[in-house]
């Protein structure tokens, strides 16, 4: 068996929801059935084989090729298996992901991993705004699993995040961890303004202080926090800077906030 591969014939002019092209939805379907799946391009419904060259037959291993920046919800809701994007991906990658892995060789659009509850998403490049964040109308963003970003993250990273982990090797934009409810976000690079805005609980781990801090974030001093050794050990071997952290280096400067909303969240600054 070879990977079920969807190669775009040409980049669609409008966004296309490809959420149904995931391992669970395609399991057991014949090639002709997969080719006949109707996808909405704007207000026009088109057959999948009109949009893609479809090759391969392994529905547990799905590959998207071509310029996929207009493809939305890649791997949405999948429970197991693997989805690979051989380039850039559009918004909502891995929306509501329950299990399995999604790998994007390039960058991903906004709201990557929103509503994700399990599994793992690897984005080699950058992610747009509100990665792991809640889409408008939702009370929670990411609720489990692991999002690894090799490049930079946009604004409002982890907005209303409920659980899970987001690790960003590059920089993060403004309002990182805004309205966060729980979970862990670590950023190896620099930060935009006002992280932890409206943050209720959860953990933000940085290598340096952001340029602008909210006045409602309070300094609690430098401490050795034992849970970090377990956290760092669990990241061992991951690609990027977090996979090589010394599990014994658990001393951080701890800030708590946002005191405007209860202040049980924490910003931990390493080094």
């Amino acid at each position: 068996m070879s990977a079920l591969t969807f190669t775009l014939r040409s980049a669609p002019a409008q966004r296309v929801d490809v959420g149904m092209l995931n391992p669970a939805a395609l399991a057991g379907q014949a090639a002709s059935d997969i080719a006949a799946i109707a996808l909405n391009v704007g207000k026009r419904a088109v057959r999948a084989d009109e949009l893609f060259d479809i090759t391969g037959d392994d529905t547990t291993d799905i590959v998207f090729r071509g310029d996929c920046r207009t493809l939305e919800r890649i791997g949405a809701g999948m429970k197991s298996g693997r989805v690979t994007v051989d380039g850039d991906a559009g918004p909502y990658v891995g929306q509501g992901l329950l299990g399995g892995t999604i790998t994007v060789a390039g960058s991903a659009g906004a709201f990557c991993a929103t509503g994700m509850k399990g599994g793992r998403i690897d984005i080699a490049g950058n992610v747009g705004e509100s990665a792991g964040g809640a889409i408008p109308g939702e009370m929670k963003g990411m609720a489990g699993g692991l999002l690894l970003v090799g490049g930079h993250a946009g604004d409002r990273l982890g907005d209303r995040m409920r659980r899970g982990q987001i690790l960003v090797a590059g920089n993060a934009g403004d309002y990182c961890g805004s309205r966060m409810i729980a979970g862990t976000i670590a950023v190896a690079g620099s930060l935009g303004a006002y992280p932890a805005y409206g943050m209720k609980r959860g953990t933000l781990i940085f290598n340096a202080l952001p340029a602008q801090m909210l006045p409602t974030i309070v300094d609690c001093g430098a401490h050795r926090l034992g849970f970090l050794s377990l956290l760092y050990a669990s990241w061992k071997g991951l690609p990027g800077p977090f996979g090589a952290l010394d599990a014994g280096a658990c001393t951080v400067r701890r800030y708590m906030g946002d005191m405007a909303v209860g202040g049980r969240g924490e910003l931990l600054v390493r080094g």
Partner: protein, 298 residues
């Protein structure tokens, strides 16, 4: 059966089904991990009055513990799930939470749940925070030296309590030295503890008493000073009897510990004043497990 001059009685040890749990206590250094472990396993020699039987299983090096610090593995046993849960809450709350730099983790991955941080977290008065790491939940409770890290839930399993053997010797000192040698070898084994002080007990008991309030009383048949006054199990050469009691997570681990202990005693042999090995039982009517000495040593 006679081994190195030591007569092995044709009898058996009678042991009981219990509930057992392994916990891992870590701290800044081995000394403080031991302080905490000694407190947690203190006053836990017999379920008759202590509620639990407990002991230190072994020391753990930093590369074996979840948080990379020196640690101690402890085993705790109780007669029921309910009692074990109660004992763990009290003992961890009073002896580990209170001990400087300590943290505590589950030592078993399988079994029925026993709340650890799940109940202790309330000490944090709302400042406690939980973290889910690699599928396990932990609680961070702020304390005056930093944070007390405690796993949310530990696991308990069906276990065995009351494996035992009796060492009958010419003198008290000879019996004691033989038991010390046995304990040294037995402490190298996993999944077992010898809950009495130093692993050895002198006050073996029988069921019942002339006093209505007592359910157990001294085992007069093995008391050397009563040799002529009661239906004694001792001949005129026996000057002292000591017992080693074993609790283990599995039937096999208790059996193995008995074998290792008895062989250590037999190595000292008659030349060292050891005359007989026997065991405590209740006629086979009370316990689920029977460990026949001659079968174990054959």
């Amino acid at each position: 059966m006679i081994i190195n001059g030591v007569a092995i009685d044709d009898t058996f040890a009678e042991a009981f089904g219990m509930r057992g749990i392994r916990l891992i206590i870590t701290a800044y250094n081995e000394t403080w991990a031991l302080h905490s472990a000694n407190a947690l396993t203190g006053f836990a020699t017999s379920v008759i009055a202590c509620g639990a039987e407990a002991g230190i299983e072994r020391m753990m090096s930093p590369d074996e513990t979840p948080d990379g610090r020196p640690g101690v593995s402890v085993l705790v046993f109780a007669v029921s799930s309910k009692e074990l849960i109660k004992q763990i809450e009290r003992r961890v709350g009073q002896c580990v939470l209170t001990s400087p730099t300590s943290a505590i983790f589950a030592g078993l991955d399988e079994g029925d749940p026993v709340p650890l941080g799940k109940t202790l977290r309330y000490f944090g008065d709302g400042f406690q925070t939980s973290k889910q790491i690699a599928g396990k939940r932990y609680w961070r409770i702020p304390v005056m030296d930093g944070e007390f890290l405690v796993q949310d839930t530990a696991r308990m399993v069906k276990a065995v309590g009351g494996g035992n053997f009796l060492v009958l010797a010419d003198t008290q000192v000879q019996a004691l030295e033989a038991c010390e040698a046995a304990i040294v070898d037995m402490r190298k084994l996993p999944e077992i503890v010898m809950p009495f002080p130093g692993g050895v007990v002198r006050s073996g008991s029988k069921v019942g008493s002339k006093y209505k309030a007592l359910s157990a009383s001294t085992n007069d048949a093995f008391c050397p000073t009563l040799r002529g006054a009661t239906k004694s199990e001792l001949d005129e050469r026996i000057g002292a009897v000591l017992e080693i009691v074993i609790d283990g997570l599995t039937d096999a681990s208790v059996k193995k510990a008995m074998e290792v202990g008895m062989r250590a005693v037999c190595r000292i042999g008659a030349a060292g004043g050891i005359r007989r090995l026997s065991a405590g039982n209740y006629g086979g009517k009370l316990g689920q497990f029977q460990y026949h000495l001659r079968e174990i040593l054959k």
